[in-house]
Amino acid sequence: MSLIEARNVHKSFGQTPALRGASIAVGQGEILAIMGPSGSGKSTLLHCLAGIFAPDAGEVWFDGGRLDTLDEAARTKLRRTAFGFVFQFGQLVPELTAADNVALPLLLNRVRRRAAYKTAQTWLDKLGLGDKGGRRTGELSGGEAQRVAVARALALAPKLIFADEPTGSLDSLTGEKVMDLLVALAREQGATVVIVTHDARVAAYADRMVMVRDGLVSFDLGTAQAQATAPRHAVADSASAAKAAN
């Protein structure tokens, strides 16, 4: 059973369509990479799945319930309690310390201050930043700041983590370390991860990869991989069956 699912989602910005009926289902504990060229709609799809954008048409389901029909307040609550986010530039508060940034979502969820900071320190330790808790995030390196963002995303023990180009601003080695930690810790927590990236080396960390083209999920590696190894007549049969079904 899928944890989150988009069904025939459409989304336009003014006259420009970004999604034209995108559908995708992500299973519990699965790590999915959404790839695609610039402007393909992959980030819009992530934002619709996360309830940041409301689709113009179609449905988004999370944990057995409709997400797209929730009002803004309910979606915000869901984002605070069930989802974690890692964006390209971290979106940390630069004036606050690393510990403050990680503790912030916990405090917003009414976790007691002492417990919030204890949890924050635990996650900073896990991400190799145990001695950086008191540093302002604006003073940290790009890789350190992004690890703080990963700690913040995981601190609430979310069911689902959304990562939009999580290593886009990092060099190869630092990006690799961030991905290693994100994937290992998410697996440890049993969290589902949806990663949007144009970088195939980042996508290769995922269990499954899909391509978004022209606002549609046009290519699923799982399916294509099966086809690539299947006997050709079987591929032809499945293509005929799909055509017949349509």
Partner: protein, 187 residues
């Protein structure tokens, strides 16, 4: 320098399969096949006439082409060759099967994409299958990096960067398919 480069990048193209693919368009003389091979796949290294006729002879022996009666005219061989069903099946299989994802295989992919477009076959689907094969290999290498010793990590890094370069070429080729199709059909 250019010859060295083109010779190296085209070293992996299969002459028999490429000639078979060209014959799937229409029955042709050896001369026409050599001209088209040189134009699309030779890139500075011409296919010798001797190799063309030797290859056609082997293809005929294996039942993949049939040679017509000798026609009057100049030159050593004025037979028109036509592809058989066996040959057509071989071309279709070759085009559809992803190439083993190894670095430096653009040349073979180039030949497949060009021939697929010439023959009006679904080049976009072939590229998707190749993309899947590449991404799958990258997943394996990434997993190996996470569990293997540092020496293996370095080797995997090398392979991953080359596979990534192939993928970028696949993406660009996909984006240019419409233009490419027009270009090869006009020729």
């Amino acid at each position: 320098m250019r010859d060295v480069y083109t010779e190296s990048i085209f070293a992996g193209v299969s002459v028999p399969l490429t000639l078979l693919g060209l014959l799937e368009r229409e029955p042709s003389h050896g001369y026409d096949l050599k001209r088209d091979y040189d134009a699309f796949f030779g890139r500075g290294k011409q296919l010798p006439f001797g190799q063309v006729y030797a290859t056609l002879g082997r293809l005929a022996r294996d039942g993949k082409v049939v040679a017509g009666e000798a026609e009057p005219g100049d030159g050593p061989d004025r037979k028109r060759y036509a592809i058989t069903d066996t040959g057509r099946t071989e071309v279709d299989g070759w085009l559809a099967d992803p190439v083993e994802p190894e670095p430096h295989l653009q040349t073979l992919l180039f030949a497949k994409v060009t021939l697929a477009l010439m023959l009006g076959k679904p080049a976009d689907e072939y590229l998707d299958r190749q993309r899947a094969a590449h991404l799958s290999r990258m997943q394996e290498l990434t997993q190996l990096k996470r569990t293997g010793p540092l020496v293996d990590v370095l080797l995997a890094d090398h392979a991953l960067f080359h596979l990534e370069a192939d993928l970028r070429w696949i993406d660009l080729a996909s984006a240019r398919l419409t233009e490419l199709a027009e270009a090869v059909r006009k020729s």
